[in-house]
Symmetry: C2
Subunit: 332 residues, 2 copies
């Protein structure tokens, strides 16, 4: 295992310390239990909290700041944070309008966020992100997995919360964005979890895992290496079929996110964008917003995912609104 690392057990704490030091203007780090909050506590708004296993950076701590999250709870690599982290984060950032948890649909995350929610003395609600259309049920999931679409949910809900909107309104927007978003990923290599020290799964030099999860969970099928045109066509078809199955009209304006898993260079991500945008346009999807880069990663996995979010005026307005976080920033 070749990584910039000291002791495996210290990796998360050292990385969090580096993140907090590099972005000391934006975030504060609290240890034991581990959570990060905005540097300046917000007031009179719904507090938006997310979290999950580490290894998906910049998700979630990289999205703390004005216009997005109030706090994030990082678990160990690919491991759910514990209820005490979520409770402590909620106590720290609650701002008189309740707490909204944004939770990717993995069994451990859901269970622990629900335990925290039950113990919490404040009004709270949850948005469950389930954008991955690759498979139903998976290694760690009942139902669909939550993947790169999480960034879009966090961005839009975070924007609405800044306006002083109610907990119910924030939850409704999050649920709507999730319902209008579909993603699928493909892996060229496995990732290597530091504590395991070897690749999570075996993938030969000629194979690709189509529909892979962001922890290396199995996808739809293993296929032989093929051209980017063919790979992206299968991914775009999967997304469009998913919208059809869910009776969501895709003849509308859309946001296209090409997300790298951590080991794939930007040059390839833009090549994927080029193919995907043309294919979507040929199906009357009007791409009016774009995001290309490493936003929801899987450690060092070489691979990428395609996410399409069907916009409406409300979603577009909140996507465009100013945001100031380590991972996403515009208008400020």
């Amino acid at each position: 295992m070749k990584k910039f690392i000291n002791k495996v057990d210290d990796m998360l704490a050292e990385s969090l310390a580096g993140f907090a030091a590099a972005h000391a203007d934006l975030v504060s780090l609290h240890l034991d239990p581990n959570y990060l909050t905005r540097k300046l506590k917000a007031h009179n708004k719904v507090a938006i909290i997310s979290g999950g296993g580490s290894g998906h950076e910049p998700l979630h701590a990289g999205y703390i700041g004005y216009g997005m999250l109030d706090a994030a709870c990082p678990g160990h690599v690919f491991t759910s944070p514990s209820p005490d982290q979520m409770l402590a984060a909620a106590q720290a950032v609650q701002a008189d309008k309740g707490i909204l948890f944004i939770v990717k649909n993995y069994a451990g995350d859901v269970m622990n966020f629900e335990m925290a929610a039950e113990m919490l003395p404040f009004e709270n609600a949850k948005v469950l992100v389930t954008d991955d259309c690759a498979v139903i049920n998976s290694t760690y999931t009942t139902g669909r997995r939550g993947v790169a679409g999480t960034v879009i949910v966090e961005k839009c809900v975070g924007s609405l919360a800044e306006t002083g909107a109610s907990l119910q309104a924030c939850k409704a927007l999050g649920d709507k964005v999730n319902a209008r978003t579909a993603s699928i990923g493909a892996a060229l290599t496995s990732c290597t979890v530091p504590a395991a020290g070897r690749p999570t799964f075996d993938l030969s030099e000629n194979d690709i895992e189509m529909g892979v999860g962001i922890h290396g969970e199995p996808g739809r099928r293993r296929i032989t290496l093929r051209s980017a045109d063919e790979l992206v066509e299968e991914m775009v078809e999967a997304i469009l079929s998913d919208f059809n199955l869910r009776s969501i009209n895709s003849q509308t304006e859309a946001l296209l996110l090409i997300n790298g898993f951590g080991g794939t260079p930007l040059m390839e991500l833009y090549l994927i964008y080029n193919i995907a945008a043309k294919l979507f346009k040929s199906k009357d999807v009007n791409i009016v917003r774009s995001l290309v880069g490493n936003y929801v990663t899987a450690l060092d996995m070489a691979g990428a995912s395609i996410t399409l979010c069907m916009l409406d005026d409300e979603i577009k307005q909140h996507w465009d609104a100013p945001v100031h976080t380590a991972g996403l920033r515009w208008g400020l």
Copy 2:
């Protein structure tokens, strides 16, 4: 070779098309000769042009926009752009105050930019970036290589140019930033150039190339795999020694850039930041600005570089100024 790619010969054109489509609000792409410009032509300012081989994305096209570059000339992967690209770009963006070329110090780039400069009917000047303190002279270089410090030069000069400053003033600032910046990289793996189809150099599972170049050029020495603490300490020492050799006082405010080479996840880059920032502080370097991410890459190489720029009031002011590009954005 596992990449998201169709034909090797088409990779650059397809990737550029994707970049231009994803950022159609910011840039225009011109083909044959290949160059990219701002969407909205600037007026009455020094036009800032950079370029170089592709494979270092987001450098350079990702830094086109308000507060940074007016145009960029992408060569093929790890190959210099040609003088006709630079001439055409200069004709397209010249804005009555001359042209400043920002050139990383590689023999081919320097030769071709100089040929273009001689043929150009406008006043022009050049800033040569030579921030890599790993080696003097290298595979493609006489003198020091230009690496991640290029982003800092482009950002500061770009900001000054927006104020209507003269060509001489812009060149002077670029030269000053370069003189106050030092970088060194380390590779955990080679990169794979698409046209070659195999790794550029061999590196065993237990070896690290200390001082590697951004095209996989040899570094100072090959060392065995060791802890991040030990690796980063060697890199920080190299940078501090370089400032001592150049008689630059490092007891001052500084910008610390931890740059990923394309295949290294953010979690590791923040771990490196944590170590480097502490070491610099122990040597009385006061880190007041930070940047962590993939800014000057080497295709899919796993590895990272550390860059330190000694700030003064002028450099800090221009670093902080608003910028709106695909790769760097704040204040707008």
